[in-house]
Amino acid sequence: MSKNIVSVNNLSVSFDYQENFLSKKQKIKAVNNINIKIKKGSFFGLVGESGSGKTTLGRAILGANKISTGNVIFHDDDRDYDLTSINSKEMKEYRKKAQLIFQDPYAALSPRMTVRDIIAEPLEVMKITNSREETDEKVREIASKCRLNLEHLRRYPHAFSGGQRQRISIARALVSNPKFIVADESVAALDVSIQADILNLLKQLQNELNLTYLFISHDLSVVAHVCDIVAVMYLGHIVEMAPSRDLFSNPRHPYTKALLSSIPSIDPENKSKAIELEGEIPSAMNPPSGCVFRTRCPHASQDGKEENIEMGLEEVEPDHWVDRCGVSCG
């Protein structure tokens, strides 16, 4: 049994919000009481619609968002980093070990830097290498692992297609030799055939470099294909979490079921039996009390008893966690 690399305990992240400078400050809870453990070497998937808090959770784990309550612990081989009590020196070390791959490879790369400089920048900023030769050596090594043409290192990003740019972003994230990668919608902007290529590359690099991924995506079929374990988020809460095969063959929460049924099937005869959800995801400024999904839930009761439920995951089968409210109605 492999060890955990990241533990997230009762994590909440809220943002201050003020409608205008005279009105009262409000708190928006983007991520609410999350508990997850990411095993070393796993491909952990996080799915949900826009506004569900996936990105905020990913950024909080990287220390890029302030944690309001709870904590995030990164377990390195020899020591633990607790992100709530980390000092700036330790933070610098942590940054070498945990990196982010962005969604849009057109926006993530500076147009004024050569590919070599883009990939080398983390090495220089984090002072990992001591000489230019050493930097160049590392850049070439990672670039060839990411299947970039070494002759292209002197060019600028505008000369590359979306798929090649995404490979440059991946190389940049991996050059500091991190152990944990957050890939935030990293294939969402790509065409299907390039998407397949990048997903295969991520898998291959995982094996070669012993990486652990937190893979954030809104595309369930992509997540089903690459991830070992998947958590489904809705309005800041995890409503279901299970090994991916289990989740996709046996979804328990009504939201997961609706999400799965909404994927348009490629078989024209399999006309959609989509469980159509009413309305849209409510605003995080004013989330429903009790079960956050109750306003769209097809099983919500008439007497509104879901208003007083406290959300929280229960283990219904080994490793298969479902929100309490969803256990009964699912």
Binding site: E49, G163, A196, A224, S262, P264, I266, N270, K271
Partner: protein, 328 residues
């Protein structure tokens, strides 16, 4: 019976600083009333340019070939020169829905005002009548509180709501032909399911023809009757959606399907199409797909092939070059 829309031998070229580039080559498609034609392909395959040609929305540096025809109601749109003629098409007989609804509404004008404005341009209506039609249309597309939304700005609506408003606006002039350019791509899956069902109902109710452009084969399978697969400006395979998706013959169509993660078959490997889509500046001669085709011959005989569709089965059209290699 004549078709609602007929495109014959359309070539579209753009004059740019770097030379003349071919965006569309020899595309012929037709569409009947009440049918949905899906156009699918990767970015840069010419899907949107085809749709924009129908509305004459391509930029000023566009060059159409002389023998191209885009026929709507026995009139060749490409021969229209005056604005009055074009008005009949734009927003009149033909409406378009775009991918990003935030970009298609003017941000500083109320939605209701924009709806009334375009209605009054095309129909002899009073302001009151136009308002009634618009609010009725907003109701029909499932917008709650239509009266209130009518007086709001685009930024006050959520993504799904904006797309519904866009559909309501496009439909309020009762077009015969609807061009939907990636209308669900920017939406979340549950909202996408809502919008797809809405569009299906509306297409049936209004009995119009629809060209549905998307890169998502799943959406095509659910919405379209027929599908045309485009690659680098050419249609490589075309036919009834069931036939094309179940029995794809062109290596590009097969490649697209194999690259798609299938939720019902998690063990299937994801197979990317090798290489990158070439720049339109150096479009391959002969078969446009030959640079990425797994069946391309060593001696390069595909360089001298002239592309063109042949009917391999009733209704199933396939590019000539793909006929042989599709059998492999």
């Amino acid at each position: 019976m004549s078709h609602l829309l007929e495109i014959n031998n359309l070539d579209v070229k753009f004059d740019t600083d770097e030379g003349r580039i071919t965006a569309i080559e020899n595309v012929s498609i037709s569409l009947d009333q009440g049918k949905v034609l899906g156009i699918v392909g990767e970015s840069g395959s010419g899907k949107s340019v085809t749709a924009k040609s129908i509305m004459q929305l391509n930029p000023g540096n566009t060059i159409y070939n002389d023998d191209a025809e885009i026929i709507i109601d026995d009139e060749n749109v490409l021969k229209f020169t005056s604005n009055n003629d074009l008005k009949k098409i734009r927003g009149g007989k033909v409406s378009m829905i775009f991918q990003e609804p935030m970009a298609s509404f003017a941000p500083a004008i109320k939605i209701g005002h924009q709806m009334i404005e375009q209605l009054m341009i095309h129909k002899p209506l009073t302001k009151k009548e136009a308002k009634d039609i618009s609010i009725d249309m907003l109701n029909r597309v499932g917008i709650a509180d239509a009266e209130k939304r009518f007086n709001q700005y685009a930024f006050e609506l959520s993504g799904g709501m904006r797309q519904r408003a866009m559909i309501a606006m496009a439909l309020s002039t009762m077009p015969k032909l609807l061009l939907a350019d990636e209308p669900t791509t920017a939406l979340d899956v549950t909202i996408q399911a809502q919008v797809i069902n809405l569009m299906k109902d509306i297409i049936k109710e209004f009995n119009m023809g629809v060209i549905f452009i998307t890169h998502d084969l799943g959406v095509i399978a659910q919405v379209a009757d027929d599908v045309a697969v485009m690659y680098l400006g050419s249609v490589v395979e075309q036919g009834p959606v069931n036939e094309i998706l179940k029995n794809p013959m062109h290596p590009y169509t097969r490649g697209l399907i194999n690259a798609l993660p299938d939720i019902n078959n998690l063990d299937a490997p994801l197979t990317p199409i090798p290489g990158n889509i070439p720049s339109p500046l150096d479009r391959p001669n002969g078969c446009v797909f030959r640079t990425r085709c797994p069946h391309a011959s060593k001696e390069g005989k595909e360089e001298n092939i002239k592309m063109g569709l042949v009917e391999v089965k009733p209704g199933h059209w396939l590019d000539k070059c793909g006929v042989d290699c599709g059998k492999k």
